[in-house]
């Protein structure tokens, strides 16, 4: 990614194409579309189609079983003016994103730097640290998580043995969300691998030059590693933020689909699910989905805008 600015292909200075050439190109495009067709068909039927349908449904009263009836913007109005749980779910998700994303990225960067330094058995460690991410989104790990953090679970026992008698984390409103944050942070494998790739691209000479100028490890980290890595940080930040806003499996499994105890794990997507599939208000759930899409899009745009200030691309003059 750091190379993209440098390696952009030169604009072709061809003469205007003749009609025969145009025909050839069009046939070429036909083949391209043929090869793209599995993706195009999948995207149209499984992504774009349902998205358009959900946009329509968000303006209707739809209970899943009977035909939807058009109610205009009522769903959106109710959401913003008459639904306390909507705001509660939005706030819970905000807390979750604000804590879990930096934690996960911090862990990913820390482990990536350790692995970048190690010589022997790097492949083994890399796989070991990546493994949780392969398992992480699965229901079974969330179940294991619930068992570990419940009353008399592993965590409770270990903490009790050193005198911290907190009880089951997942059973208490003040700790339950923390278990979800921990579950998310533990799955740092994907950003870690990307960080590792980024670290390998930082030229050694920069570190050597910095060392000669008398920069210590923390100075080298702040003045060399972080700036050189900033495009990768941006990429990971955007991706993980979007993921975190959509977090569902962990909250659903840990709270048995209820968002409890006392609504403390009611993440926005879980509330959306409850509205659609247990309250039978699919129109309302669709409207919630579009609000989430809008919020995530705006936040992503803001992050990209802020990136001008802190992301450094190699080859730029600063």
């Amino acid at each position: 990614m750091t190379q993209s600015v440098l390696t952009r292909p030169p604009v072709p200075a061809d003469p205007p194409p003749t009609s025969a050439a145009r025909g050839r190109r069009r046939r070429g495009q036909g083949v391209a579309y043929l090869f793209l067709s599995p993706w195009i068909i999948g995207a149209a039927l499984l992504t774009i189609g349902p998205m358009v349908a959900s946009l329509y449904l968000s303006f209707t009263d739809y209970d899943l079983f009977e035909a939807p009836t058009w109610i205009g913007v009522d769903n959106y109005v109710t959401m913003f003016t008459g639904d306390e749980r909507f705001w509660h779910a939005a706030w819970t998700t905000t807390k979750y994103v604000l804590v879990s994303v930096p934690l996960k990225l911090g862990l990913a960067l820390a482990v990536a730097m350790l692995l970048n330094r190690a010589r022997k058995g790097v492949g083994l460690y890399r796989s070991a640290f990546y493994a949780p991410s392969l398992l992480g989104a699965s229901v079974s790990v969330a179940l294991a998580w619930r068992a570990m953090f419940s009353t008399d679970g592993t965590v409770d026992r270990v903490l009790s043995s050193i005198g911290l008698d907190i009880g089951g984390w997942v059973d208490q409103p003040q700790y339950a969300l923390l278990t979800l944050v921990a579950l998310a942070a533990w799955q740092f494998g994907a950003p870690m691998v990307i960080f590792l790739a980024g670290l390998k691209q930082v030229p050694r000479e920069l570190y050597e030059a910095a060392a000669i100028d008398g920069a210590g490890p923390s100075r080298r980290f702040l003045s060399v590693t972080l700036p050189m890595l900033s495009p990768v940080i941006l990429f990971n930040l955007v991706l993980e933020t979007i993921h975190a806003f959509q977090a569902f499996t962990g909250a659903f499994v840990v709270s048995s689909g209820r968002g409890g105890p006392s609504d403390s794990t009611l993440l926005y997507p879980l509330y959306l699910y409850q509205r659609g599939f247990t309250d039978f208000r699919m129109g309302y759930a669709s409207a919630m989905a579009w609000v989430l899409l809008a919020v995530v899009a705006i936040l992503t745009a803001l992050v990209f805008r802020s990136a001008r200030r802190w992301v450094f691309y190699a080859g730029e003059d600063r």
């Binding site: 079983f65 059973d171 409103p173 209820r258 006392s262 599939f277």
Partner: protein, 428 residues
Amino acid sequence: MGRVSRRGAAGLLVGLVSLTAALSGCGSDSADGPVTLRFVWWGNEDRAKVTRAAVDEFQKRNPDIKVETEYSGYDAYFQKLSTQVAGGAGPDLLQLDRATVGEYAGRKVLADLGEHTGKDLKLDKIPANLLEGGKVDGKQYAVAGGATTQMLIFDPTHFEAAGVPVPTAPGEKWTWAQFTEAMTKVGAAGQVAGTTDFGWAVDWFEVWLHQHGKSLYTPDGKLGFTADELAEYWEMIGTMRSGKGVSAAEVTTKMDGSVQNSGIVTKQAASEIGYDSAVTGYFGAFGPNLKLAPLPSDVAESGMAAMPPVSFAVSQRSKHKAAAVKLLDFLLNDPEAGKLLGASRGVPPNEEIRAQVCSSADGGSKAVCDYEAAQQDKIGPAFGAWPTGSSAIKRDFQRTYDDVIFNRVSVADAAKRVVQDAEQSLGS
């Protein structure tokens, strides 16, 4: 290119024609061809085992009908069911409860069983008050799969150790004050709480309301109680919580009506209020050393009622309604099926079968039969069906109670919120 696409179109046409033929073949509800039914329910393993045995017997007698069965826990069951029904892949015969009969009938998912009644579906042996629970707007959309009543199931060892008597013999009863004292004593004496905190379930509040001449819902589907009444009830339970009379908040928040999460099975409480249809499940998960007692009451009315613990219904969209009704009739009226099913959904709804099953019952089924016999004159007629919106109310009730037990809101405010939310759910 052109030729290829013409050939492609021809192929597509042939494909469509054969597909249409195949679909229309599925659509016919012919009695002669082999049909496959899907029958789903929620419950514990003991229920699954005996229900499968009954289904096997049905298939043996009806070789042209194949029955696929599926079961899961309560929450998961309804999550799956709504998705399947919405996607057009719903089951043919399904199990519902009081909150969901109204919900699904009101949304036109269930078939009106009235046209089968008296023909291929015999309901004359089932008491009228049980059948009432399956009616919505006067139409029979569901039939009780059993009869149950409220009970306190308890582990006598804890009560004996604390020296607390529990009324179990016919005619014996206790007041709420005696109940509170007993639970507090057990909680103070032993490792476990006296009883699982029962404030989370709207079902037990319903009993308390009936003891006070009120009801959860009025006959015309409005809310039948006030915030003050709910506050009084929750305050009463609150007095037990401080002295370990009822289970701690961390235990209570996990309650979902399933036996494996129940306070008594997880050894967090010495007793628990429930429906006696779950007794075979308790016996399976805990062991046979459990006893049953009636709920406390300060008045002559016990507040307990003969209820359908579950109801069976046929999907309106089922392609094999006749076969589904046949299976339903078998489960309700066949003596062999009755013997196999035992008291896995409460005592059998069919009175003849009930007498026959109870005369030869053992284990959990016997405990249920004995309890029903002992409490016979205390058990009133079934409460009315719950209106559309009641499953949301049931959930909101539990959610708000969570806030109460974790001290996040005062009882008075919580009660007000329940009433507000409920009125909204009934309105929508």
